[in-house]
Amino acid sequence: MIDVLTDTERLALWLLWADIALVLIMAGAVLIGRLVSAYALARLQHFERVYQPLAHRALTGDAVACRMLVASPWRHRVPIAWLLISPLIDDRDPRRIVATRAIAGALSLVTIAEQYMRSRWWWRRALALRALGLMQQGSHTGDMLAALDDSNPDVRGAALDALADLHDPATLPAIVARLQDTSLQRGRRAAVIAAFGSQCEPFVLELAERDPASRLNYARMLGICGTARARPALSTWTADARPDVRAAAFEALAHIGLDERSATLAIRGLESADVKVRSMAAYALHGWTGAGDPAAHLARHLDDAWTVAVRAAQSLLEMKEIGRAELANWARHGGLAGLLARQMLWQAHLPR
């Protein structure tokens, strides 16, 4: 027993010393971490103080400031690149982009970006792609497209960002062809379509014709980038055998706006057996005050399933007088229809 106690004590004492060492290491690490952070922050502030005014002047065409930037030490180039390029995320003024590109060329920043593109570290590849995209470096379009196949998802996302920022219509066929790739982040795919807007539409329509199996995705894309040109195709898709495709087609039509043919189809869609289709058909009719007495048809769905009823009520609200007259009729009713109608009329009087 004495042996056990002695062993336990020895172990405990050993643990105690290990603990003391650990506490000291952790406390030291906190202090060193803080010193490193403080140094990094001070360095950043120093670069901002020294190079920010020069960058501003160089961007306004001051050749002296540009020469001073070019004379900066090579190891300062990445922080300078940051100061020059990061404002382009929010400021997409073409003149600023051109000026930044010129200065970046003089500072050999593109060479650094090329080195980063070949780096084994994913964050360097992503950084380089974003910088090239923000500067609209058209000479590197091929690299950006190739990076869509990078092994790292963040690099693939950065490539999509870069292509959206590059905004080169020549890249559109390649981009649109990749938009169904679910390994690319969903939000980024939507953002790239939004960036190109209606320029995507012809390619989407062409691909949709060749690949009817993926109509659902194309309908969703047209919901973002579609124009009146997409109406005939979308109207055809409202008769697709798959309810999801029909619903997505009505949703896209809601964004594009209706004509007489598509409005007739939407009114017919209100009688679909599928709730999602009825809901999107009701959504598509928002603001349509043309033929077919849409207000009366919509009003009949105020006590439908919740998603249909709420879409119908919102569409009626957006029909102005015709819709509001119908809502006023229903406001006297009880149940969901009456409550929704009263809610919409209340909202109509809110100051916006």
Binding site: M1, L16, M26, A29, D90, G157, D161, A191, L350
Partner: protein, 465 residues
């Protein structure tokens, strides 16, 4: 007898060593997570939400029960969020103070007809108010449902967004909290929920409903809770998040897909720890249905919340947390060790059961029995001192690791004085505060066993202007 006592002391010491070693290992995993997160957190990434044609609508649901002191500041902060596609649903859960009157007066709210479906059950709604100045602000006035879950369910029913965020009324969100929290949903369609790091608001200056100047609070009790939050959010939860095993999205901040919440029946009104109960049910539902899912976690503070500064409120809170934890472990006991529940069944829940479930009982009994044995002369006092010292030093080193991670990640307490106070709190919390918590854990266990205990009300302070 002596042998048994020595053996028991050894078990307790081994337990401390194991527990703290596991926390240090988690620190390594969490560091890797944070490092990757910081690499991905680029300004271009953050700009993504702004470049979408239609970002997802987020319904912010704020259950409020007697929150007159902080509700207006909280709503102002919500209205100032850098995310336009949102609505704010305040659920007045039958408050007995003037929460509703204050809201009506401050935001010009009028009774309004609002229709919504009721997929989740909750207490009767008395009235609905909408602001004539802020069209996206809605107040649901309902009968008191006896718990926050009931109010949250009423809010989820009324929410029109695809994403719902449940926050406490005293939570102050960071201005970019929503755009940051929405990002995982945009990047990965299988994301069903996002949890966030919760910082402590005590001691901070609030300007226009936002955290202005950050400083350490004067109260040591609040300081201890700051380092405790760091340890909890930056070690265990990040380690879980790196394996998609998050089992607790704090009630102070959680963004969920509405359809996922409805699929699991929303908040369980009988749950004491409703936030953990919901997260575990989400894990269970998606894992057993073999559906792809992801629960993300943001290591940077998304919001700040007030912590109790008086012993009584803290005791009630900790006993409640303890009862909640034990209730979830008991209700989900079939998941513990169940390989069908993946990492949650094989690692996360067993870890919680052993180290958080048994922890306070072993700690308190370890101290008590060894001290009693020393007093009776069965073991020497130096054994007791050794046990205390090992527990103290290991605890301090783990908390310092959390402080290091927090300092590198958030740089929240930037002044040197605050850092010194943080380090002091990391060391001193082991001299009494931690033991007190363990004791409250035992009290909570007894309450859970006997079915006693109450929710308790925290003494709140208005935010400092």
């Amino acid at each position: 007898m002596t042998e048994a006592l020595v053996a028991f002391s050894m078990v307790v010491a081994a337990y401390f060593v194991l527990w703290n070693t596991s926390q240090i290992v988690m620190g390594g995993v969490a560091s890797r997570f944070v490092w990757r997160y910081l690499r991905r957190r680029t300004p271009r990434n953050r700009a993504l939400v702004g470049r979408l044609a239609s970002p997802p609508v987020v319904s912010l649901i704020v259950p409020a029960y007697n929150e007159a002191l902080t509700i207006v500041d909280s709503i102002r902060a919500l209205l100032a969020l850098e995310y336009e596609s949102r609505e704010i649903v305040i659920v007045n859960d039958g408050s007995s103070d003037d929460t509703l009157a204050l809201l009506r007066r401050t935001f010009s709210m009028l009774p309004a007809p609002v229709a919504f479906p009721n997929p989740l059950s909750c207490a009767a709604v008395r009235g609905i108010y909408r602001s004539v100045r802020q069209p996206d602000l809605i107040v649901i006035d309902k009968e008191n449902g006896g718990c926050k879950s009931d109010a949250a369910n009423a809010g989820i029913n009324a929410a029109s967004g695809k994403l719902v965020m449940i926050i406490d009324a005293d939570t102050v969100l960071e201005p970019d909290a929503l755009s940051r929290a929405v990002l995982p949903f945009l990047e990965d369609p299988s994301t069903i929920a996002v949890g966030g790091n919760v910082a402590v608001a005590n001691g901070c200056r609030i300007e226009d409903g936002r955290i202005g100047e950050v400083a350490m609070p004067r109260s040591w009790l609040a300081r201890f809770q700051i380092v405790e939050y760091m340890r909890s959010f930056l070690l265990f939860r990040l380690a879980c998040a790196s394996a998609n095993g998050v089992v607790l999205i704090s009630g102070a901040f959680g963004l969920f897909r509405r359809d996922a919440m409805i699929a699991v029946g929303g908040y369980d009104r009988t749950a004491i720890g409703e936030d953990m109960d919901l997260t575990v049910r989400l894990q269970q539902f998606y894992r057993t249905q073999r559906r792809p899912f992801h629960i993300a976690f943001d290591p940077l503070p998304l919001c700040s919340t007030q912590v109790p500064e008086d012993i009584q409120s803290l005791r009630l809170q900790r006993c409640r947390w303890r009862r909640g934890l034990l209730q979830v472990l008991w209700r989900r006991r079939r998941l513990i060790g169940n390989p069908r529940a993946g990492v949650v069944g094989t690692l996360v829940l067993p870890y919680i059961a052993v180290f958080e479930g048994l922890g306070p009982l072993l700690e308190v009994s370890g101290y008590a029995i060894t001290a009693a044995a020393a007093a009776l002369g069965l073991v020497e006092w130096r054994h007791f001192r050794l046990l205390l010292l090992i527990s103290f030093l290991f605890g301090a080193s783990v908390t310092l690791l959390a402080v290091l991670l927090s300092d590198v990640t958030t740089r929240r307490y930037w002044r040197s004085r605050d850092l010194a106070l943080l380090m002091a709190a990391a060391v001193l919390e082991n001299c009494g505060y931690r033991q007190l918590n363990a004791w409250w854990g035992c009290v909570g266990t007894v309450q859970a066993w006997t079915g006693t205990g109450k929710w308790g009300e925290m003494k709140r302070r208005a935010f400092e202007p």
